[in-house]
């Protein structure tokens, strides 16, 4: 019998203690009586539920292809811009003389060549997006 003194310390934990804690009859429960029926009901519900709607790849493919093409065009436009950059006159900001009149030729030279491309790309992207989403939302 344990003695009621102040230096009473329980025995250190042993493997047997752990085994007892997990193998005693108290450490197990019985499923409730309706458990199997509940599982079968859940399975019946799962079976009755409609299959998840698959992503409409067939409908989406043209849109995806158009977006990919637009992206390719965009990248090509950026690359061509970068390549043509050295041909442009030096920026007045870089030269130190910040004059509005001096800026105009620079702006014209860098913008005029690309405005048409950018407008076309933007319009194309908008049209492609509209067509893509209309196609996705339309009934079969």
């Amino acid at each position: 019998m344990p003695r009621p003194n102040s230096d009473f310390v329980p025995a250190p934990l042993t493997d047997a203690d752990i085994a007892r804690a997990f193998s005693s009859p108290r450490d197990s429960i019985m499923p409730s009586s309706g458990f199997a029926a509940s599982v079968m009901a859940a399975i019946a519900h799962d079976t009755a539920a409609p299959a998840p709607i698959p992503f409409p790849w067939k409908r989406a493919l043209p849109g995806i292809a158009a977006v990919a093409a637009a992206l390719t065009l965009l990248i090509a436009a950026v690359v061509s811009m970068v390549r043509s950059a050295p041909a442009a006159p030096a920026s007045p900001v870089q030269t130190g003389a910040l004059d509005t009149a001096a800026l105009l030729p620079f702006l014209h030279s860098t913008q005029d060549t690309n405005v048409a491309v950018w407008t076309a790309v933007t319009l194309g992207a908008v049209i492609v997006s509209l067509v893509f989403f209309r196609r996705l939302l339309s009934t079969r």
């Binding site: 019998m1 203690d17 804690a21 997990f22 450490d27 197990s28 429960i29 399975i43």
Partner: protein, 208 residues
């Protein structure tokens, strides 16, 4: 004389699986009835909450139902089922821990009255061990839970956890070390209270 269809409970796992895969959903009941107790008990060891254990076990059965076609028969059906269930339980426990305790909380709860009450109500040491195991880092907790669930069978625990046996042994060793270090602390206030509670219970028993 025509052969009557076998009752669900009388079907072997293999026969039940074959029937389920051929479209007879009711045959799955044989599997549920045969394995409900082990699966609920395993879930109980992970969460210590009966309602939640049954919910987790139901989720495991549902997962088994959905993935039954993936069972190739390369291992025993029970191995496949326990492995799947253990994965479900670990995910559930990670998502919503059943016991928001750290290992320190197990030995030194904030409210001494609560510790005394718990010690009197439960078999304090066993319960402390179980709570301490649940508070271990997941990999040690899982190894210990599965090892004792499989009646101290390392290969079975390794198959369920889908890890090598050596890893299970290493995790068991480290997990036990952590537990021992926890329980080997100098007598704290909680431990003294727990001891007092055990002593009181013992004296009460003797008096009767």
């Amino acid at each position: 004389m025509t052969a009557e269809p076998a009752q669900p409970a009388a079907l072997t796992d293999e026969a039940a699986i074959a029937r389920v895969l051929s479209g007879d959903a009711s045959a799955f009941e044989a599997i549920v009835r045969r394995w409900q107790a082990p699966l609920v008990n395993l879930a109980w060891r992970f969460c210590r909450d009966r309602t939640r254990a049954e919910e987790m076990a139901q989720e495991a059965f549902l997962r088994a139902w959905r993935n039954l076609a993936q069972f190739r028969g390369e291992s025993a059906f029970s191995t496949w089922l326990f492995s799947l269930a253990a994965n479900v339980y670990r995910t559930e426990i990670r998502r919503l821990p059943s016991m928001p305790l750290s290992l320190d909380d197990v030995a030194e709860p904030q409210d001494p009255r609560r510790a005394v009450a718990e010690a009197l109500e439960e078999t304090s040491r066993d319960e402390s061990v179980r709570r301490a195991v649940l508070a271990l880092p997941a990999k040690y907790r899982d190894a210990i839970l599965l090892f004792y669930f499989h009646e101290q069978d390392v290969p079975a625990a390794a198959r369920t956890l889908n890890i090598p046996e050596g890893t299970v042994k290493a995790r068991l060793f480290r997990g036990r070390e952590l537990l021992r270090s926890k329980f080997a602390r100098p007598a704290s206030r909680t431990r003294r209270l727990s001891n007092a509670a055990s002593l009181a219970a013992h004296q009460h028993k003797e008096a009767r």
